[in-house]
């Protein structure tokens, strides 16, 4: 019997937490990223034990991340691991550069996006997944139904849409602030309060997913091809 794949419950995209950076295996200089040595330039294979996105950029796990600083780190590390610089270095080095640059890109994208960063923290602290039951605010569902009505009954560019966009943006800001509150300082998942906080963050994240989709509709952007 063959069928389409189903999503594996509780599957995690990353499982490691922030780790100390350690020393370069080649020249023993202290590492700023586990992917490559800033001193001797050697690429380091981390496929057996993938570092966390925070560790990759040399940061501690926190909800708040300085986007400008993260960008600087991304560029500095990209200059060490980008495959462009390994085009003539042989297949093994090129593959390693591909692998490490992919890890770097993904780490950066998680770290500079409030929603993805919060999602990563909830998953890796053992919190509920996005499809777990009971992770939706009841009162939010009522609001959603009202918004849907506005979306269905009006045209992009109308006053109603503009008012709704402002409302959605305000709600979005409010939810991000709520998440920041739950995750600062980071909750201890072993305590009942911590587990509850993670569940609340998941509820906020699920609400945000809806808001972001509604915002795309409100923007009046042409649908994707």
């Amino acid at each position: 019997m063959i069928s389409q794949p189903g999503r594996q419950p509780g599957s995690q995209r990353n499982s490691q937490e922030g780790a100390p950076q350690g020393l370069c295996p080649s020249c023993s200089a202290p590492l700023q990223t586990p992917l490559a040595c800033g001193s001797c330039g050697v690429l380091i294979d981390v496929s057996h034990d993938e570092p966390s996105p925070f560790a990759i950029l040399g940061l501690d796990v926190t909800f708040d991340v300085d986007a400008k600083d993260a960008r600087k780190r991304l560029r500095r590390i990209a200059h060490k691991v980008h495959p462009d610089f390994y085009a003539t270095a042989g297949e093994q080095q090129l593959d390693l550069a591909e692998q490490n640059n992919a890890l770097l890109n993904r780490a950066y994208e998680i770290l500079v996006d409030d929603v993805r960063r919060a999602d990563w923290i909830v998953r890796n602290f053992g919190g509920p997944g996005e499809k777990d039951l009971g992770c939706m605010h009841q009162e939010f569902l009522m609001e959603v139904m009202e918004w849907n009505e506005t979306l269905d009954e009006n045209e992009p560019g109308s006053d109603e849409f503009q008012a709704l966009e402002a409302e959605l943006q305000a709600e979005r800001k409010h939810l991000i602030e709520s998440i920041r509150g739950y995750l600062t300082p980071l909750p201890d998942p072993k305590t009942p309060e911590g587990a509850l906080a993670l569940k609340d963050v998941r509820k906020d994240l699920n609400a945000l997913r809806y808001i972001d989709r509604a915002l795309t509709r409100v923007s009046g952007l042409p649908a994707p091809l």
């Binding site: 389409q4 794949p5 462009d84 085009a87 591909e98 692998q99 992919a102 993904r106 994707p224």
Partner: protein, 623 residues
């Protein structure tokens, strides 16, 4: 012109890597030389290589300018705009577009587009390989015969996986090692950034012959970082031509015979007339669309004003601006936050395009760089980076479309979002759906739509050998890796029992590995024949030029040369004329060499007389 640097240590010529813009209408090679990119062209000849292939009666192909020259007299055997078919199946192509083609297309058993000409079936990959070879031949000639083996080739940023794979396969068939596939707008930004030495946020609007791309980037301290990209791989100059062709058809009227519409001669003449009118309208306020086909009693002349033309193409320009809006939204930027706008592609010469882009961003776009050359120049700069020439430049690009898997119920589960940075890897866990399931079918899709059926199908593969267990117990790890070329590899492993299997995906709209191998063998076998044909054609052209000069100057020869020399020359001329019709390279070569020797005494006389004329009437001091 360029020369080859020699490595003193091993006496091997340095590996030459060029940048190639493989365009819908024209293609172009460029190289990094003396600290800047430069177009590779043969002195005295145009730089652009028309992306046109003509199949001659004997089945051999001619490519480029000489092929385009045949397009009007022999449209049925002259193939243009093949890039639009790369990685596409026939069902992907609009019927209206097919109706405008002067050549025949059909599909392979697996639904791939192929062009049928003189009983030969050629895939877009094979035709593109012929164009790439011609481009390399020009590059090689421009560098005094150096052999080209490696290249950076550009593709539209909005090309999907199948289209990128097809481009890579074309290069393989042309025996070129592809060092990197680079997105056209990214390459353009590189050329622009290096040339203008500007930094900031840049929008590249690239409207070519068949494709449209927009990319939003930041340029900062040598780092070229793409924030977002959007586009339409089916929007370009060809579509503007099509609008004017429709005007022509309307002008001819309802009564037109369907057989005429299907006549390749009609289609080609209408296309070329539309293209000519379009180009005229870029510089004049009005132009005439004309079509004259006496054999069909068609004589049409229709005046088109710029206003009318603008109204006709406004929907096309709007489509491009819709893409720009999406790209801006993804980059989370407002038009006022864009510091510079760069126009790329021949179609950005259309005044309405320029004015609408200017209105959208509220600033004048840059046009200092030739929009036909900027992409190839950027590709050459990227080639230099890849060869280790510079660590000061770094391109960071993104993937244009989301990538995912079809899950139960037909939904597309997206593993990689659009505008993710590349290279990029994502692992995701999947499991079985029913008890005792021993295999899982994976369907890899690309696109933004929610349902897999609405996305582009990249390929299907089956992971079998899963030990029977309860539903949901199997742990299948699927890994998507997008490399720096934007090309996807998918691997899957059943992890719970240690039983593993991994599969790599070839796109369902591409060539299989065996097909590429077979074509490669065939083309290698043909390579010598192709080369000889090419050389023969060049020699015949050369003989033509030599004959014109020597025949025109025969009276001079008879006046000034001894009888023996005149007789040699006359015999050589007769032999050369006969050799022009020969299909044997050796004969043509011998006739050319004999003619060359026989014209030497004449050349000496002519040189002397030129010098005498130049000196005549002048005092010694003036000379």
């Amino acid at each position: 012109m360029g020369y080859i640097e020699l490595d003193v240590l091993d006496n091997q010529p340095k590996r030459i890597v060029i940048g190639i813009d493989l365009g819908t209408t024209n293609s172009l090679p460029a190289i990094w030389s003396n600290g800047r990119p430069e177009v590779l062209r043969v002195e005295g000849e145009p730089a652009l290589v028309p992306s046109v292939v003509h199949i001659q009666e004997d089945g051999t192909a001619i490519v480029g300018r000489s092929a385009r020259a045949r397009s009007l007299e022999d449209p049925e055997h002259t193939i243009h705009s093949v890039k639009r078919f790369m990685g596409r199946s026939l069902s992907d192509i609009d019927q209206a577009d097919l109706d405008r083609l002067p050549y025949q297309v059909s599909e392979t058993e697996r639904g791939l587009v192929q062009v049928e000409v003189r009983g030969k079936k050629l895939t877009p990959q094979e035709l593109s390989a012929l164009i790439l070879r011609e481009v390399c031949a020009q590059a090689s000639a421009a560098m005094g015969g150096a052999e080209i083996m490696s290249a950076v080739i550009t593709v539209p940023a909005y090309f999907d996986d199948a289209q990128r794979q097809a481009t890579r396969d074309a290069a393989r068939l042309a025996d070129i090692e592809v060092l990197r596939i680079v997105n056209e707008p990214t390459a353009a930004s590189l050329a622009y950034g290096l040339d203008q030495r500007k930094e900031g946020t840049v929008a590249v609007y690239d409207l070519g012959g068949g494709t449209f791309d927009v990319s939003i980037l930041t340029i900062e301290e040598g780092v070229f970082e793409v924030l977002s990209t959007n586009g339409d791989t089916h929007l370009g100059g060809d579509d503007i031509d099509a609008v004017l062709m429709d005007v022509l058809k309307a002008e001819i009227g309802e009564a037109i015979d369907p057989a005429v519409l299907a006549d390749p001669a009609f289609r080609q003449a209408a296309r070329l007339s539309a293209e000519k009118t379009k180009i005229q309208l870029s510089s004049s306020p009005e132009a005439d669309l004309t079509l004259s086909l006496p054999e069909h009693k068609i004589h049409v002349r229709r005046r088109i004003t710029r206003e009318e033309f603008d109204a006709l193409i406004a929907p096309l320009v709007k489509r491009s601006l819709d893409c720009v809006r999406r790209a801006m939204a993804d980059a989370k930027l407002a038009p006022s936050e864009i510091d510079e706008v760069v126009l790329v592609g021949g179609s950005t010469r259309v005044p309405l395009v320029r004015s609408e882009v200017e209105a959208f961003f509220g600033r004048k776009p840059h046009t200092e760089l030739d929009p036909d050359q900027v992409v190839a120049l950027g590709a050459a700069a990227q080639a230099e980076v890849l060869m280790g020439g510079s660590r000061d430049i770094l391109l960071m690009d993104v993937t244009p479309l989301a990538l995912g898997l079809e899950t139960v119920g037909g939904a597309a589960e997206k593993l990689i979002q659009r505008n993710s940075r590349i290279p990029c890897s994502v692992k995701e866990g999947f499991t079985t759906y029913v008890d005792g399931q021993t295999a899982i079918d994976f369907h890899v899709v690309q696109g933004e739509r929610e349902m897999a059926a609405d996305c582009r199908s990249l390929g299907r593969f089956k992971l079998s050998g899963i030990p029977p267990m309860a539903a949901g117990m199997a742990r299948v790890g699927v890994k998507f890796h997008l490399d720096a070329d934007g090309i996807l590899t998918v691997t899957a492993k059943e992890e719970s029992t240690g039983a593993t299997a991994s599969i790599e995906v070839r796109p369902s709209h591409g060539l299989s590995e065996e097909e590429v191998e077979t074509m490669l063998e065939a083309s290698l076998a043909n390579a010598k024949h192709d080369f000889e044909q090419r050389r023969r054609v060049e020699l015949i052209a050369e003989i033509g030029t030599m004959l014109r000069h020597s025949e025109a100057n025969l009276p001079v020869a008879r006046e000034h040369l001894d009888r023996e020399s005149v007789q040699d020359l006359e015999e050589a001329i007769a032999a050369a004329k006969a050799a022009q019709k020969s299909s044997e390279l050796d004969e043509v070569q011998a006739a050319r060499d004999i003619l060359d020797r026989a014209t030497m005494p004449l050349a000496t006389v002519l040189m002397d007389s030129v010098v005498k004329e130049a000196v005549a009437g002048k005092r010694l001091g003036d000379v």
